[in-house]
Symmetry: C2
Amino acid sequence: MNGAVCVVTGGLGFIGSNLVHHLVARGSTVRVVDDLVAEHGGSLHNVEGLDVSLTIADIGSPEVADVLVGADHVFNLAGQVSHLASMHDPEADLQRNTMSHCRFLETIRRVSPQARVVHTSTRQVYGRPLRLPVDETHPANPVDVNGVAKLAGEQLHSVYASAYGMRTTSLRLTNVYGPRQRLDSDQLGFLPVFVRAALRGDDIRLFGDGLQRRDCLFVDDVVDALLTSCVEKAVGRVYNVGHVEDHSLMEIGELLCKLADRGGRVVVTPWPEEHGRVDIGSFRSDCSRIAEETGWQPTTTLADGLARTLAFYEEHPWFLSPR
Amino acid sequence: MNGAVCVVTGGLGFIGSNLVHHLVARGSTVRVVDDLVAEHGGSLHNVEGLDVSLTIADIGSPEVADVLVGADHVFNLAGQVSHLASMHDPEADLQRNTMSHCRFLETIRRVSPQARVVHTSTRQVYGRPLRLPVDETHPANPVDVNGVAKLAGEQLHSVYASAYGMRTTSLRLTNVYGPRQRLDSDQLGFLPVFVRAALRGDDIRLFGDGLQRRDCLFVDDVVDALLTSCVEKAVGRVYNVGHVEDHSLMEIGELLCKLADRGGRVVVTPWPEEHGRVDIGSFRSDCSRIAEETGWQPTTTLADGLARTLAFYEEHPWFLSPR
């Protein structure tokens, strides 16, 4: 990546900004595109002090063409990630996760068709698993509009690879945690909510019985997957990116309370109606395809990753305050 | 269906208008919604002489709310069906096959949430089959934007069933032929192109070797599947709707030439580049799920269906002339 021109969409967000930090450290020229939608995870703080160019725009807008000229790698991470928001405003989710990506792919095709494109999809495209672990041939039956829209965005990347020879890869990410994740919203998954509670010494509320399992992934492992996926063999492919370790939400909550050591406890509470409707039970990814084809594997245990996460936020306490 | 209020979107099109004829004959009150997009299959001729109400509008537009008030059944057949058009104008396809359906589902949810909704999807959502016959658990890997957009539209119907208790069913239709299919376009599948050539005594051009197989379905069998799917057991379900018989394109072409008896022959020609990129090889549906859950099965053989098709167009020769 040294000397490479890298475009990172959603580069002010959680995963995007962690990637930007890594790329800058490796000597890449980094161009960030982010539209800083209020409810999403992006913040200018996330790239503070870094030498990057920044375009505040939706990836579907015409000015993004200039950003793409001469790009070697495009890391396409922009998107809406809230499942509940997608049910409250389904059209907005389809606009951001499908339609804008369609326009973006058309722009890449026109301006920079040789660029290596790595797109982030989500394990949410599978919906309720029919079997565990879930490999990439498992049927995709999303349970919310966000899953539908993300799957369509992912499939557009595959179609542009097969129909036009574009060099795209999509990664279906499991639940990700780590530094630079927005903690002041309840809409960005359970992990930032748990981390916030642990840091404040509040109780962690679990819905249902707390026995649902997840294969959570530390953000550095995701960054590593994004970079590893740039190999030629991954062109036109879709990969699960999750962990071999899985844990119940109860275990994750208890581990966080113990590591933070601020007096919070885990408490169990019934499902709120609108959350329960989109619950998918336990999930674990089968990541053998990406391991075999690119060599990527996660290297951070949950205990280590959560400890590093808490340490980051203790050094950067403004993440806990609403902006 | 006698006395039932039925809304048919895309009701001026090929399958929609055949359904409208059946519903009127069974004593339903029929409300047709169709936006008569120039390149699509709709025509006012298709419902000539029938007592139906007609709203010329996109299904996503606000005036469709009035049409839905008091609806017992909604047959949601509106859509863009050309695979090549979806590659030339991907945004337009996503607008018509995904975004408009999202708005339409929101309108039904608000105005007529108890209505029974049957939506037509397509076997195109599967892409190139990994195995034959293809059942509903086969991964969906569409090879063109049309397949991506139709799958998203279908999955929105499933999400609205699971999240809101709406009573939706989606049917993944195979290649359909029969009366009232537009014959003057090359963009609506191979069957109307073959039928047109046979009727004119022109040669039928097959791309590749002509050995690709399809399980073609006569439109009356599709109408029967739409009506049969209104049973309660089908709520929230997705079904393949195809045929137990499959035939090579060569066999279908030769049968048409023989039945029409106007001197046309089948000739084999290489794939044009843009067709070849979205070719999916042979396809055959496994329709055991709909058979088991609703009792539906196709009853028309290819030879019988094609003979009835040719007879219809011989009686209605204006279908052969550009409109």
